[in-house]
């Protein structure tokens, strides 16, 4: 099986302390892979390493066989931010945001070509947001807000999507429709890595799981690795208790 994401001996340190400690893991192409672990387990740092946004002490990351740099140049990898890290009051429309997926292929003026417009139309259609293209992004529902950023990734031509806590604060119906979208994209060969600290539903839609606690506790097919034993080792305590108490984070 070919891998979309290949991580070898990856170590990342903040102020001398290892946040990721010799991580070795790969995600097969076309997987919907859950990345689970407590807050502070290194999920965000792993994302940042895949995005070249953090200095790596040692190890290497390969995306569809390319270095991260080359992968980014070719638009292979895209990041869908957490809802609360986006400023929803920004004066940008749905179309503006999706067009930002094309910016990497434009010159410094960022003037969209006809081809760019076409790809944005296509991306909007794929996430069913074509009727909302002129809306200011803050005037969308929770699920639509996620879809805008998925559309941006598609307009970019990304085949690896990194979703950061996509289901935080989202109701069950929205979650189901997003999962449906991810499964549609999976059929088109897109690999998705989903970071989540809430374990309630992740096992039901991810075909692969990585359990992370600075190092990889276990990784593989969900049915093989998503066991009580592994979860307990990842979460340091009785499953569900510590993680459910916000003030302990």
């Amino acid at each position: 099986m070919t891998s979309a994401i290949d991580i070898e001996n990856l170590t990342v340190r903040y102020h001398g302390k290892a946040v990721l400690d010799d991580v070795n893991v790969s995600v097969p192409a076309g997987a919907i892979c859950g990345l689970v672990g407590m807050n502070g387990a290194g999920k965000s740092t792993l994302f940042k390493s895949i995005m070249n946004a953090v200095p790596v002490a040692s190890g290497k990351v390969r995306l569809e066989g390319h270095t991260v740099k080359t992968a980014q140049k070719n638009g292979i990898v895209a990041y869908v931010p957490q809802t609360e890290s986006v400023d929803w009051n920004f004066p940008v429309s749905v179309r503006d945001v999706v067009m930002m997926g094309r910016y990497g292929f434009m010159n410094i003026l960022r003037r969209p070509s006809e081809n760019d417009q076409e790809l944005v139309n296509e991306a909007l259609a794929r996430v069913h947001l074509i009727d909302f293209e002129d809306r200011q992004v803050g005037q969308l529902s929770g699920g639509q807000r996620k879809r805008v950023f998925v559309a941006r990734a598609l307009a970019q031509g990304a085949t690896i999507l990194l979703l950061d806590e996509p289901f935080a604060g989202v109701d069950a119906k929205t979650e189901a429709s997003l999962v449906g979208l991810l499964k549609d994209l999976q059929k088109q060969g897109i690999t998705t890595l989903v970071a989540a600290h809430d374990l309630a539903t992740i096992g039901s839609y991810c075909d692969h799981i990585i359990l992370l606690k600075q190092a990889v506790i276990a990784a593989g097919r969900t049915k093989d690795v998503f066991t009580q034993k592994n979860i307990a080792r990842t979460y340091d305590s009785v499953f569900g208790v510590k993680e459910g108490v916000p003030w302990m984070r």
Binding site: M51, N52, K69, Q72, D87, N89, P91, S93, G104, L109
Partner: protein
């Protein structure tokens, strides 16, 4: 009509209107980015930091704009440097650095013999601007305006989503420092029109007003610039007819427009007339 045209026969009035409108445009465009990027305090920081630069440039016999630019940019770079290395929050570091530089400026003004009028630097003196300074200010304003308009989409992406910007290999550091440098240049250009205290308003209010009036970024730039130019011209006339502080009048007009927008903006004002 005559009330509008007759002051224009005076050279100083015409010059004041042209120069302050140019400065008004550049401040307004920049204010859109600052407001969206939550950098409003940065305007405060740069403008107060330029004071020692103005005095030292005088001592060294250089144009004031060079000293002001060095200290304005130096101030924000210093803030960035300290912020990364201590556990203090942004606002504390910003507050310490710019007040210290401002204090250094005050001490220098009081000790260095010069013909610098502190009041003019603090609150502007556009009616008395020299031809040389007017040209300098005009050139800076036009250059910064050109850059902001040309690079607006890249700057907007940088302001909106840095993670995506760096993921598509947009040089995030370049845009960060570019925006700071443009801010420093803009403050330099504003010293003589509204002064370093009131320029803070010019760097926040037009963008804030426009943000309450539109959901489109290009339109936001246009509204901010128009409002700002209107305020600058109104301020110049007010100063001519009522003999009041020019910079003060300009900022006051902006403040009044903000208040009206805050109350009556169709979608985002507190008294919503249009239901959505």
């Amino acid at each position: 009509m005559d009330a509008i045209i007759s002051p224009l026969q005076y050279d100083f009035m015409l010059k004041a209107i042209v120069v302050s409108s140019l400065v008004g445009v550049v401040c307004a465009l920049l204010s859109c980015f600052l407001v969206l990027k939550r950098w409003s305090l940065m305007g405060d920081a740069v403008s107060h930091s330029v004071l020692p630069g103005v005095v030292l440039a005088y001592v060294a016999g250089l144009p004031y704009s060079i000293g002001a630019f060095i200290f304005g940019l130096g101030g924000v770079l210093g803030i960035g440097y300290i912020k990364q290395r201590v556990r203090l929050k942004d606002d504390a570091v910003i507050g310490i650095v710019y007040t210290t530089l401002f204090a250094l400026g005050l001490v220098l003004v009081s000790k260095v013999p010069s013909n610098i009028d502190l009041m003019h630097i603090l609150f502007g003196y556009v009616l008395g601007i020299s031809d040389g300074d007017a040209w300098q200010v005009g050139l800076i304003a036009v250059a910064v305006t050109g850059l902001l308009i040309t690079l607006r989409r890249s700057l907007l992406l940088y302001s909106f989503d840095q993670a995506h910007a760096s993921a598509i290999r947009l040089n995030v550091n370049f845009y960060h420092y570019l925006l700071l440098a443009l801010l420093a240049l803009t403050v330099v250009a504003s010293v003589q029109t509204v002064g370093i205290v009131l320029v803070v308003a010019m760097l926040i209010t037009p963008g804030a007003i426009a943000h309450l009036l539109t959901d489109r970024f290009d339109r936001m730039l246009l509204i901010a610039a128009s409002v700002s130019v209107f305020a600058c011209i109104a301020g110049a006339y007010a100063s001519y007819y009522f003999d009041v502080s020019t910079g003060g009048a300009m900022v006051l007009v902006l403040g009044i427009i903000f208040l009206l927008t805050f109350l009556f903006a169709p979608k985002y004002g507190v008294l919503k007339f249009k239901s959505h």
